[in-house]
């Protein structure tokens, strides 16, 4: 058997675009198998990958949890999760083949014996199923357990790759709750795993539309010339949710939506929207540009006037009477946690000087929608009578991230008729992709990237820390000043948010 440097694979040909990337032999070890995320997203995504032929032959999945379970029980859980949530049709043979590789190791995080058993189990899989000693550890568990788990992985020798194999660790947000805790978390992980084998999942970055931001900007000549302060008046980045906090009270209260959403999703969207062109799409180049632009983000001097936070009150959301945040189960009546947050930031670069970026996110808003909107300056001169253009707003280019993934352009058009009246119209591009088998769900894409070891879509430590540096002063200000303003569930957020925009002579887009 060859052990040295392999010659290039003769069957791979850059012209052969039909062949997808397929992960090499490996085992995925999943911690926290019973969680919501694992049932609704991870297990279905693994099945979908298998169904599309993107997992290697012999791929194995090992679940680890504090349950008195046999392999069979975990397979049953996975089976049910797949049946209910998988995107692709359920095929018995795909499932059977996948199920054979599903194993379960019972144990608690503080039990070295359980990790010994785990080490034995994966070694056995290497022998039985030819997984080649490559392990990815997916920590779908609360961050407070990370330390214990990674140390156990180290103690049991699991974290140490043998010659020619790899180890990867996958973590989900939150990556800390402020800069200090993020650094602490990184320190814990770095004790055992090098940075290049840590994959931080921000599932937004796996979405087609988010990746399309890069295609839209850098593959076209139509948009880039106007993608700057000469034409753009301001940028609005929104992530609105119609749901409340549901069963996440324990996690959410004390954290708030700014930490939960702005720190990662919205700032990543901002980075992709505002960054300069990377020299290539290699992971390092893209990350370097993102880090550059994040380090150029500046907060306004008057945080009171340029940030808003809110809490939803009881109301009617989408035809259903819903509870207010304080009435949600497990929320203390004096909680000051924000369920709505809006901030203005500036990007101090030549491209964006003087162009404010408004970020907003909230729960229990009127509708679920995530988008990036570039709102353009008004035409410098309108050769029409003022009455003809009363209805004409600002041009806008909107990247709709979800739902209805696509791109919208808004511009003025003449209303049919004898009078010259100009009004806003929308031109939509929809991603037909979104409803077929071949368009991967974000988790599929990201899981596959982890197993292949392709890092561009994962934020690295530097980006995480830069994001906290942006958010921390806001959180500190909020801690000391005032409290969240109530807004009616099912509305578009607190009045203060509209007032904040009005002070700048602008208004939020109604989504």
């Amino acid at each position: 058997m060859n052990t040295g440097q392999q010659p290039p694979n003769p069957l791979r040909d850059p012209r052969d675009k039909r062949l997808p990337r397929v992960a090499g032999p490996c085992v995925l070890v999943l911690f926290g198998v019973t969680g919501d995320l694992s049932r609704k997203k991870l297990l279905p995504a693994i099945y979908d990958l298998a169904n599309r032929g993107l997992l290697p032959p012999g791929f194995s999945l090992v679940g680890f949890a504090r349950r008195d379970w046999e392999h069979q029980d975990f397979r049953q859980l996975a089976h049910d999760a797949v049946k209910e949530h998988a995107r692709t049709p359920f095929r018995e043979d795909v499932w059977n083949q996948l199920a054979e590789g599903i194993h379960f190791v019972p144990g608690t995080f503080d039990d070295p014996g359980a990790f010994e058993t785990l080490a034995m189990a994966v070694k056995e899989l290497d022998e039985q199923r030819g997984t080649g000693g490559n392990y990815a550890f997916y920590l779908s568990i609360p961050p407070k357990f990370f330390q214990e788990v990674v140390q156990q992985l180290q103690a049991s020798g699991l974290s140490q790759p043998s010659e020619g194999s790899w180890r990867r660790v996958v973590i989900e947000k939150p990556f800390g709750h402020d800069l200090a805790s993020a650094q602490e978390l990184n320190a814990i992980l770095h004790e055992v795993f090098p940075e290049e084998s840590i994959f931080r999942i921000d599932h937004y970055l796996g979405k087609e539309t988010v990746q399309n931001i890069l295609a839209l900007r850098f593959a076209n000549n139509l948009f880039e010339p106007i993608w700057n302060r000469s034409y753009v008046d301001h940028v609005q980045i929104t992530m609105a949710e119609d749901i409340g906090i549901g069963g996440r009270a324990g996690y959410f209260d004390g954290v708030g939506t700014a930490r939960d959403v702005i720190q990662n999703h919205l700032l990543q969207l901002l980075a992709l929207t505002a960054m300069e062109e990377p020299v290539s799409f290699a992971a390092e180049s893209v990350r370097a540009e993102k880090a550059k632009v994040l380090s150029a983000v500046r907060l306004p001097k008057d945080l009171g006037a340029n940030t808003v936070r809110g809490q939803y009150a009881a109301g009617w959301q989408g035809g259903v009477k819903v509870r207010g945040y304080h009435e949600e189960e497990g929320i203390p009546p004096n909680s000051r946690t924000d369920t709505y947050a809006a901030v203005r930031v500036d990007v101090d670069t030549r491209r964006w000087a003087g162009v404010p970026f408004y970020l907003r996110t909230g729960k229990r808003l009127a509708r679920r929608a995530t988008e990036v909107a570039l709102v353009f300056q008004r035409a410098p001169h309108l050769p029409f009578a003022a009455t003809d253009t009363e209805e004409l707003g600002q041009n806008a280019l909107v990247i709709r991230v979800q739902p209805d993934e696509g791109v919208t352009m808004r511009f003025g058009s003449k209303v049919p008729g004898t009078s010259m009246e100009v009004r806003d119209v929308n031109m939509d591009f929809d991603y037909g992709e979104s409803f077929t088998e071949s368009s991967p769900e974000a988790y599929e894409r990201l899981l596959l990237d982890v197993l292949i070891g392709d890092p561009p879509l994962f934020p690295r430590q530097e980006e995480v820390e830069l994001s906290w540096e942006i958010l921390d002063p806001i959180e500190e200000y909020w801690d000391k000043h005032g409290k969240p303003e109530l807004y009616k569930a099912g509305s578009w957020g607190p009045k203060a948010a509209d007032e904040m925009m009005a002070r700048d002579g602008r208004a939020w887009r109604r989504l």
Partner: protein, 356 residues
Amino acid sequence: MNIDLTNTTTRKVLDALSAARHRMGGPATGKVLTLVVLTEEASQYDAVRASTEAAREHPCRIIVVIARSPGGESRLDAEVRVGETGPGETVVLRLYGQLIEHADSVVLPLLVPDTPVVAWWPGIAPDRPAEEPLGALAQRRVTDAKGGSDPLGTLNRLAEAYVPGDTDFAWTRITGWRTLLAATLDQPHDDITGACVEADPKNPSAALLAAWLSVRLAVPCTVAESHGPGITGVRLTTTAGDIAITRPDGRVATLSRPEQPDRQVALHRRPTSELLAEELRRLDPDEVYRDAVLRYAKGLGEPAEAKEAGAEAKEAGGEAKEAGGEAKEAGGEAEQTPEAAAAPAKAPRGGRGKKS
């Protein structure tokens, strides 16, 4: 919305399309291409269904062209479907009489402006797709060698008539196999000295798979008969033993490598809509397919047919017989030895270049 137009013209069809769109508030925007389906009355239902499913991934205008009785008066009947089954628009055209010869005059005005055109023959492939009036309109011409009664002969004809932009479902069907094989060779392996594809007789996909392996690996590659369904196995002979992928049931494949445990992976046969969606995903010429189909025509599969047709093949020229002999009789060429096998395998077209 379904609009039937009998004895009509393209102008009326276009009017019907825009009227339908207008009435529905414009649901059919954002079309990325026009798909022209050339089929017969009997198979049009399946073809339209597959196209509509593929259109969910690639929003497009589907123009189905059905040639009816060539005798009698020229006539055009059209059926316009908007927003009925999928995101795009479907126009079913039935051509009678002399008009059949001038189908392009009907289709040309109906193409979505400034977007690519793909022509698809779900049934019997034409002899020279690019020279068909409708084939000439298209960037991509998709045939199905399996659609006729003589798949291997069809493949030979298609190879001979190949122009950039041609592709065949026989090739699309083996993407799964090729993916698995490529992934297998991503892992360390010993030098490959030969390859064999096992499939039911007359399987054009097996022929293309063998041809592809022979081009890429630059080793002799044969096709052995099995009972199917489809391709049942691929065996790569290495100096340390065989790397084999077997799929006896058309569903689950087993990968065996020397000194390693057997591994299983699902490898199912895909429905037409998925094949079509894959074809629509890329619209530039598929050079890898070209390499494979030309290699096949030079003589890899059925010796007799391959030689005959190969002799006329553009690129293969008079060497086809020689090449056919080589492959079949485990040719005594230098490519046989493992050292030589590794070297040309790296250069994309090394194998073929060597012979000419």
